[in-house]
Every structure is written in structure tokens, then in C-alpha cells.
């Protein structure tokens, strides 16, 4: 599904150059659950952003479903992203002005799904995440665990083939964290590919494979399954 070859990314400020990705090569197959670990600044978030089509590499190749996407313009990337990729963030990133229902509905709106169909799908996913009773609340009225469940609901509502999770349990206590990890595992079992960046060995153990990064390169791979 994802084939990355010799990917390079350098951040430049006026007088400092930071190499975030250094000729990184990396592959994820359909249906895999991969955890990416490594110390701060090792390039794991940059990798996630590039895989999520939020950022451009400086050089190298990135095939998404065998299509080269490095040269895609913003519009094409947005299109590919909204059809195939769901995001879960550490800080949930829900829109404060929208209710739970409206937040989850948003990706479907951008996909141009009709109102009736949207309602059905949002309700189904809220049900699955067990936050249906909170559908008309605003994010600030929810606990952290509930917010992350809404975020996961939003990430999966359009049935993406790939979910990118950036420290999804970082802001949660352990029981809420476990709940979210269980949700991700369930999704993976239903066929969704998951790439998760994490600092937590505990969370990483939910995955099939752990990739450890240092200075923009992968250093080891542990296959768990």
C-alpha cells in the first residue's frame, strides 16, 4: 500500500538545517498495523505528515497504492487524502464551534455525501464508538477519552483504507488510552491499515510491527505477529 524509497526532508531556517528524514525507505502493506517509535526529533512525525499527504518530501519516491504522489499538487493531495486517509491526533483536534455530530459529519460533507446518507453513517459510527448520547454536545463539554473517541469516529466515518494516528493516547489516562487502542485494533481487524506514532511501548505492542527511528532513518524493525 505504501512504498517509500530514499525519502529526504530537510527543514531550513535562516542558519540552521535540520535533517528530518535521511534517505528513508519504508513499506506498509494493506491491512498492517505499524507502530513508529523513536526519540523526539527522530523524524517520525515528519514521516507521518508525508504519508498523510500533509507535507512534501524534498526528494525520493512515495508510492501510494502504486501511484507516485510526490509530485501531486495540493488539490490532488487533498482529494486523495479525503478518500483514503483518516487522522487521529494526540490533541484530538476537534473543531470547537461544531457539535460531536457535526465534527464527525465534516469529512462526509467534503466528500459530497448526501444529507440522509451522512446522517445514517454518522449515527452508525457514533453508535459504534458509544458516544451517540453525546451527539449534540460541543467538544469542550466532553472528557478527553470521549473527545478522542469522537476524533476516531471522525477518522473512520468515511471508511478510509489507512488511519494515521499521532500519539493517540498521549493526552489520555491509561484506561481511556486502552479503550482507544482497542478501537484501533478492532478497526485493523476489520481491514483498515494503521500507522501509529507513539512513545508508549505499551501501545506499540498492539501493533504487528514496530519501526524504530533515529536521526531520520529506520534503525530496527520488530515484527510482533
Amino acid at each position: 500500500m505504501i512504498r517509500i524509497k530514499e525519502l529526504e526532508k530537510v527543514y531550513r531556517t535562516e542558519d540552521v538545517e535540520t535533517v528530518a528524514l535521511n534517505k528513508l525507505t519504508f513499506e506498509v502493506k494493506e491491512g498492517e498495523f505499524v507502530a513508529v517509535m523513536g526519540p523526539s526529533g527522530c523524524g517520525k512525525s515528519t514521516l507521518l505528515n508525508i504519508v498523510g499527504l500533509l507535507d512534501d518530501p524534498d526528494s525520493g519516491s512515495f508510492l501510494f497504492n502504486d501511484i507516485e504522489v510526490v509530485d501531486f499538487n495540493e488539490r490532488k493531495r487533498a482529494d486523495l487524502r479525503k478518500r483514503n486517509i483518516g487522522f487521529v491526533f494526540q490533541s484530538f483536534n476537534l473543531i470547537d464551534e461544531l457539535t460531536v455530530f457535526e465534527n464527525v459529519e465534516l469529512p462526509l460533507i467534503y466528500l459530497g455525501v448526501k444529507t440522509d446518507e451522512r446522517k445514517k453513517r454518522v449515527e452508525a459510527v457514533l453508535d459504534k464508538m458509544q458516544i451517540m448520547h453525546r451527539r449534540n454536545h460541543y467538544p469542550q463539554q466532553l472528557s478527553g477519552g470521549q473527545q478522542q473517541r469522537v476524533a476516531v469516529a471522525r477518522a473512520v466515518v468515511n471508511n478510509p483504507r489507512l488511519i494515521l494516528a499521532d500519539e493517540p493516547t498521549g493526552n489520555l489516562d491509561s484506561s481511556n488510552g486502552n479503550e482507544v487502542m482497542q478501537l484501533l485494533t478492532d478497526l485493523n481487524e476489520q481491514g483498515t491499515t494503521i500507522i501509529m506514532v507513539t512513545h508508549s511501548e505499551h501501545d506499540a505492542r498492539y501493533s504487528h510491527r514496530i519501526i524504530r527511528m533515529l536521526d531520520g532513518q529506520t534503525v530496527t524493525e520488530n515484527i510482533l505477529v
Binding site: R75, E97, I109, Y110, L111
Partner: protein, 807 residues
């Protein structure tokens, strides 16, 4: 999708109430200003557009060159029309209106009144200006002598419910027949009248109608469709040069003729001396339009600044939307949509405000503008379109900035200072500078206009216009003014009285005098004042040399002239002392006298006095006694017991001239009325300056709030490290004072240039002093300082622990 945008927009607007309030309020003020001025300007532009075939109608005017400089006049010689009609096949029709002043006494049965709005004109009037007749035939109504056409208002005044057509009405005690009744005179017609008299009744001798020099007619030409008017004008100018110049040159002047399109008469005639049109002032109309636009621009800039300043608050939303699939175009649409919503709300507020303010504007401008978009769907659609346009103009830039945010940056919590690109910060400064430049420009202009208006009202006119009432003499009073004066003076409340033709603020005769010399006679144009022995003393005019007219000197009536200081120079006498005894000759107006030439000498020199408004320069002025031409009388009274004094004058008048009502005015009021347009300009400028400053301050207030919020952490750290409150207020204020200071520097030369240009219209004017600029700069700085101080002091006083904990 739209519903979602709308929902987010509404919730955002409600969530940041302060931001929303500032934006709606400042946009509403800006739009209200634009609407009101727009209505005014639109009304001004409407003049004469209703006339069918008006695109082929031109008015003739002349630019007159004489020793005293150049003047434009709307009145031209009678031969213009005659010659154009006879010699130029492209001319379809011509029309002359006699320039006449004073009032006419109208009488029918027991209704008797003076009418001021009348014109002597030709039968072609209604073929060039097709006005609606209620009764009568437009083609023949003014063809015969002693014919009048009246408006329906005048018809009901004199004839009540009876039909006026065919009835006799007395005009100055002569019988006229009503040949037509007009429905009314349209409001947007440059001519204002309620009575038209056939030109043939004016009793003008044939010989005068053949003059090329007697500029006494407003003349209109209707050309055949497709005529090249530029060519026609050149051809006619050649004829004027050939026929008129030889006749006028000996009189010391020549003129050239120009064609003025009908649609330009109302707004482009403000420079003309002698015009009977209802005139607007294009400069003022354009000036006001720009000011309205300024206020709107300031309000739009507020929006741009506040929207970009608070963009970090929305950065997360943008990031999220992008991550889950929004492309930039969709976000552009969303954010522009929000501004459009805001702008439409402002348009609604402004519409209601305008409808509330409009009656006051109508009173102020003496117009009857109607405005109700709630009953006029086209107007409503126009306003909605305008609202959307304003929304797009104000919203597009912030939308581009916001939609350009990189999601990975904003979702990582990087704040706006680094999330919004450098050009945004730069632009924000630039917009604040422009806003304050416009405000400073308005402050300076208003101050200068105010000073000039005060100057116009308060300048020493060289005579005393207070406590003087004046009126035309009629009947026995005209025949025996001295006896009437003597009778008036029996009252202790009457201080003095003088009869003359040429009272300050009233009509006078532009004529010429002849200075005999060794190389023959030399003609000079001069304003001639026909006076009596009491003129100079009644008006309090100062003598510079020689003496006043005296009843003890029998020869003063036939052989004496008193001239002004300017006349001393213009006539080449050197000094007032040297002017005394110099010979002056004058062509008498009554040609049948045995001595057509009055030969006299200068007996005195007076200080120049402003018998016209200060819009016009005083020119060569010659005073003389010439009893046949006395037309008006001025009476100086004591202010105490004024009603009784007026009653006394009326009573004496009715003993002398029982057939005529007394029709008087106060001289100071006539002068005050001359500066009405400047007074109004001054008031409007005040209002708009305040509007602009208030709107600008609202923006600054909002910006200061966001800036304080953004620098919260910095402020806290500085406080922890020991910064004083004063120090922090100064720190935060400094960043706002710099643009205001730069703005002043930009505004100064522009204001200086624009105001100099405006002041050039006045031969008598104030000088632009440096302190006006100083005051404007200090005012702008103080206003800015006070505005931001609310926020900076609040920020400085906040507890550093709370904000650091939040970080």
C-alpha cells in the same frame, strides 16, 4: 455544505462577540456614511436627466477676458441665439431666458403678493423643456406679449378652485393672460420657477436684442441628433470673434462662447458668475464621495486587520478541515462567506440607520430624497449585491491567508506569529497607517475648512452690515425717496437711511467709466454704485482721502465721483491723494438726456468694502449720485424694539406706496446665506471626520486586544523579571504609535496640497499654519494612545502566574 459553513460562521461570530461587534459596528458606520452620501450624490446626478431629447440640448456660456481677469458667465448676448438659429443648419431650436432680478408684484382680485421665481422667456421653452401642462397649449402659450404660464401651485394661490386658463392676472399692475398651467416644476430641473412670462412682454427694444455685448440672456440650443457639437462650437467661436470682438473690445473686454451639455449644468457651473440655475458643486460632490469611500475603506481595513490578527484562533479549525479533506478553494469560500454574512448584517443595520437619519439629511441638504429598500425590490437587490461585494473585498485577503495555513504547523500548536506569513504582519501595519493617514487628512481638512468658514463670516467687510434692513423702492417711495427717508428718521429707532442701486449683498451695475487723457479717452470696466448723500455714512464705509458727498455742494449730483482704493490703482491714479480731482466720464443710462456724458471729478476715495461675498475679489468700484437709477433703500435701525421699528417703517411705507407691500430683508442675513455651502461642507466634514476616527479607533482597539493577548506570555515573563506596569504599557503602546506617526507624515503633504487647492477658490482666505498639522498629529496620537491604553493597561495589570500557567 453551505449549511455547515453558515453554521460555523454564525457560531464563530457569536463566540467572538467583541470581534463581531467591532466589525459590524464599524462596517455599519462606513456603509451608512456611504449610503447617505450615495443618496445625496445620486440625487445630484439626477438633475435634468428626465428631459426627453436632453442629450441634444446645450447651454451657452462665455469666458470673458478683461483687464480685471477672466470670468465665466452663464449669461450671453441676445445675438447668440439669433445668429445660431439663422446661420447654423445643425441647430434645431434656440431658447432665451432674460436674466432678471428682483420680485414681481402679482395681483388677482384680492390676492396680492410678490413673486420671486419668475422668468421672461420665449415660446420655444416647452419644445426644448417639455414640461407637463395641466391646461393650455405648450406651443403657443408664450408666443404673444402679456402671456404667462404658471404652475398649479401658483394657480391655486391666485385663483383658488377656479380654472386659471384664460384669466387675467396683474403683473406689476399690467394685465397678463394665463395661457397655460403647469403640473409643476420637477425637483431635478436646473431651472426653478413658478411663473413664466413671454419675453415679448419684457419691453426690450429691438436694438438691444441685436447686441453682441449685452450679456443678459441664458441661452439654450437644441441641435439636430448626430451633430458634432465640438465642430459647431469652433465654427460659432469663429463667428463670435468676427462679429462680437470688434464690438466689445472698446469696452475693455472680449469673450468666447462655449457649449455646455444640459446634463452638466447643475454640477459644473459653480464657477460661473451670473447663473440662474440650481447649482450643485462637483468638487464638493466628489469630495464627499471620496470621504464616504474613505470611511468604508477604514471599516474594511478593520475587518482585514482583525481577521488576520485573530487568525491563530482559527488556525486549528483550518488545520483540521484541511486534514480531513477540505481543499483550499472550499476554505476560501467558507471564509469569504463569513465576511459576506457579516457585511450583509452590516448593510441591514446601515439601511435602518440611513432610513432613520435620512429626514435630517433632507432638511440639511434641502432635498426630498426617498429611500426604502424594504418596499423597492430592485433597490434591495442592489444593496444585497453591494453587501456581497463589500464582503468579498474585505474578506478575500483574510480568506487567502487563513486558507493558506499549513495544517501540520497549526496542529502542532505553532502560534500565529509564525503560522501567519510575514507579509500579513507587514500588511497589517500598512493598513493601520493608511487608516490613520485618512483620519489625519480629514482632521486637517476639517480644521482648515472650519477656519476658512469662520474667516468668511468674521472678516471685516469694510462696512457695517448689522442692523440694516433693505428693500426695493416702489410707487411714491421710488419717486420721492428723500421725503420717505425724512419721515422714517422721525422715529428714534431709525438711525440712518440711504437709497441707491448697488447695496452690499444686492444687485449692482457692472458698467464702465472713461478716463480722459492726452492720448484720448480710455475705457475701464468698473462696478458702478448709484448712491445718495447718506450711503457712505449709513453703511459705515471708511474714507481714505477727500470727502463724502455733501448736500451743501450742489455740484456733487452731476460732477462728483467717489472711488475705491482698488479703483485708484486700476484707473492709474497712483495714490488716493493724487486721485482727488482727477476727471472721470460716464455714459449716462438715460440716453435721451441732453448731455449723454456725465463729466465729473474724483472728490473722495473710500477703503475697499466687500459688497459681494468673499468668494469674489473686489474690483474697481465707483460711487456716484444718479437719482433716476435709485432702486433700493437701506435703513439702519436700533435692535432694541425691532418689531415696533419694522411696524413703523411699514406704516410709513403704506402711507407713501399703498399699492405695494413692503418687502424687506436683513443685510447680515443675506451675507450669511452666501456662505451656506461652505457652512454645510464644514458640518459634513465634522461628521465624517468623527465617523472616520471612531471607525479607525474601533479597529485599533481590536488590534490592541489581540496584540495584548498574543504577547501575554512575553508580558508575564517581563513582569516576573521585574518590569513595571508603566513600562509594559509603554512597550505595548509604542508598536501602535509608530504607524500613527508615519500616517501623520504621509497625510501632511496630501492635506496641504488638497486644502491649498480648495482655498484657491477663495480670493480671501486663511493661510495654512503649521500648528494645524501639529494639532492633527497630536490629536491622532492621543486618540490612538487612549484607544490602545484600555487594552495595554488591562494586559499590564493581569496576573503573570495565570497566563504562564496557561502556556
Amino acid at each position: 455544505m453551505l449549511k455547515n459553513y453558515f453554521k460555523t460562521a454564525l457560531r464563530n461570530l457569536l463566540r467572538y462577540k467583541g470581534f463581531t461587534a467591532i466589525n459590524i459596528l464599524s462596517l455599519s458606520i462606513g456603509i451608512t456614511g456611504c449610503m447617505l452620501i450615495g443618496l445625496f450624490v445620486w440625487d445630484e446626478w439626477k438633475y435634468d436627466k428626465f428631459i426627453q431629447g436632453g442629450e441634444n440640448v446645450y447651454r451657452l456660456y462665455t469666458e470673458r477676458k478683461s483687464t480685471e481677469g477672466n470670468t465665466s458667465t452663464a449669461s450671453v448676448a441676445p445675438m447668440f441665439a439669433t445668429h445660431l438659429k439663422q446661420q447654423f443648419p445643425e441647430v434645431d431650436n434656440t431658447l432665451r431666458i432674460l436674466m432678471a432680478g428682483g420680485k414681481l408684484l402679482l395681483e388677482h382680485e384680492n390676492v396680492k403678493a410678490y413673486e420671486e421665481k419668475y422668468m421672461f422667456t420665449e415660446a420655444s421653452f416647452f419644445s426644448i423643456f417639455p414640461l407637463k401642462f395641466l391646461q393650455g397649449d405648450p406651443k403657443t402659450a408664450l408666443a404673444e406679449p402679456s402671456s404667462v404660464v404658471i404652475t398649479s401651485d401658483l394657480a391655486s394661490k391666485y385663483f383658488g378652485n377656479q380654472s386659471a386658463l384664460g384669466k387675467t392676472i396683474k403683473v406689476e399692475q399690467e394685465n397678463f393672460v394665463v395661457k397655460g398651467v403647469l403640473a409643476g416644476v420637477p425637483e431635478h430641473f436646473h431651472l426653478d420657477f413658478n411663473l413664466l412670462l413671454s419675453l415679448k412682454s419684457a419691453g426690450l427694444p429691438e436694438s438691444r436684442m441685436e447686441s453682441w455685448g449685452w450679456q443678459q440672456f441664458f441661452t439654450y440650443v437644441k441641435v439636430k441628433p448626430g451633430t458634432n457639437v465640438g465642430q459647431l462650437q469652433s465654427k460659432f467661436q469663429a463667428e463670435v470673434k468676427r462679429l462680437a470682438h470688434p464690438k466689445t473690445s472698446p469696452g475693455g473686454f472680449t469673450y468666447q462662447a462655449y457649449f455646455q451639455p444640459l446634463k452638466n449644468i447643475h454640477l459644473q457651473s459653480s464657477e460661473f458668475s451670473y447663473d440662474n440655475a440650481k447649482r450643485g458643486n462637483e468638487t464638493y460632490v466628489n469630495g464627499l464621495s471620496s470621504i464616504a469611500l474613505f470611511v468604508l475603506i477604514i471599516a474594511c481595513f478593520n475587518f482585514i486587520n482583525l481577521a488576520t490578527a485573530r487568525s491563530f484562533r482559527r488556525a486549528k479549525e483550518i488545520g483540521v478541515r484541511k486534514v480531513i479533506g477540505a481543499d483550499r478553494r472550499q476554505l476560501l469560500l467558507q471564509f469569504t462567506g463569513e465576511t459576506i454574512l457579516l457585511s450583509l448584517v452590516s448593510v441591514l443595520v446601515a439601511t435602518i440607520a440611513s432610513m432613520i437619519i435620512l429626514p435630517a439629511l433632507n432638511t440639511f441638504t434641502e432635498k426630498q430624497i426617498a429611500f426604502n429598500p424594504f418596499t423597492d425590490p430592485i433597490l434591495a437587490a442592489g444593496l444585497i449585491a453591494a453587501g456581497m461585494l463589500i464582503g468579498i473585498l474585505a474578506g478575500i485577503y483574510p480568506a487567502i491567508v487563513l486558507s493558506g495555513f499549513q495544517p501540520i504547523k497549526v496542529l502542532k500548536g505553532i502560534k500565529s506569529s509564525s503560522a501567519s506569513p510575514g507579509h500579513v504582519q507587514w500588511l497589517r501595519q500598512a493598513l493601520v497607517i493608511i487608516q490613520f493617514s485618512l483620519s489625519a487628512l480629514l482632521i486637517i481638512s476639517t480644521t482648515i475648512v472650519y477656519r476658512q468658514v469662520r474667516f468668511l463670516h468674521e472678516t471685516d467687510m469694510g462696512f457695517n452690515k448689522d442692523e440694516i434692513l433693505y428693500f426695493p423702492v416702489r410707487g411714491e417711495v421710488a419717486k420721492n425717496p428723500e421725503a420717505f427717508k425724512d419721515e422714517l428718521k422721525r422715529s428714534a429707532n431709525v438711525v440712518a437711511a440711504t437709497a441707491g442701486y448697488g447695496l452690499p449683498g444686492d444687485q449692482y451695475a457692472g458698467d464702465g467709466v472713461i478716463i480722459p487723457g492726452k492720448e484720448g479717452d480710455k475705457r475701464h470696466s468698473a462696478n458702478l454704485f448709484i448712491v445718495d448723500h447718506d450711503y457712505i455714512s449709513t453703511l459705515g464705509i471708511k474714507m481714505v482721502a477727500g470727502r463724502d458727498f455733501s448736500k451743501d455742494m450742489a455740484t456733487d449730483v452731476d460732477e462728483a465721483f467717489i472711488i475705491s482704493e482698488t479703483a485708484v490703482r486700476e484707473l492709474g491714479f497712483g495714490t488716493p491723494q493724487k486721485a482727488l480731482g482727477q476727471p472721470i466720464h460716464w455714459d449716462k443710462w438715460e440716453k435721451d438726456s441732453l448731455n449723454p456724458l456725465k463729466k465729473g471729478r474724483v472728490i473722495g476715495v473710500i477703503k475697499d468694502f466687500h459688497y459681494k461675498s468673499l468668494h469674489e475679489k473686489v474690483t474697481t468700484t465707483v460711487l456716484q449720485i444718479y437719482p433716476p437709477a435709485l432702486a433700493k433703500m437701506a435703513v439702519k435701525v436700533k435692535t432694541a424694539d425691532l418689531p415696533n421699528t419694522i411696524a413703523y417703517i411699514k406704516q410709513v411705507w403704506s402711507r407713501f406706496s399703498p399699492d405695494y407691500p413692503l418687502d424687506y430683508k436683513f443685510m447680515d442675513e443675506s451675507f450669511a446665506a452666501m456662505y451656506k455651502s461652505e457652512d454645510k461642507l464644514g458640518s459634513l466634514l465634522w461628521i465624517f471626520t468623527i465617523m472616520a476616527v471612531v471607525v479607525g479607533c474601533m479597529g485599533l482597539f481590536g488590534l490592541a486586544a489581540f496584540s495584548a493577548e498574543q504577547r501575554n506570555k512575553e508580558i508575564s515573563i517581563r513582569k516576573v523579571l521585574g518590569a513595571s506596569i508603566g513600562g509594559i504599557v509603554a512597550l505595548l503602546s509604542r508598536s501602535f504609535l509608530k504607524p500613527v506617526f508615519i500616517a501623520s507624515v504621509i497625510a501632511f503633504p496630501i492635506a496641504w496640497f488638497a486644502m491649498n487647492k480648495w482655498l484657491e477658490n477663495f480670493p480671501y482666505r486663511v493661510t495654512i499654519s503649521w500648528w494645524v498639522f501639529g494639532i492633527a498629529a497630536v490629536a491622532a496620537l492621543l486618540i490612538a494612545l487612549i484607544t490602545v491604553s484600555f487594552q495595554t493597561i488591562k494586559a499590564a495589570l493581569s496576573n503573570p502566574v495565570t497566563s504562564l500557567r496557561n502556556e
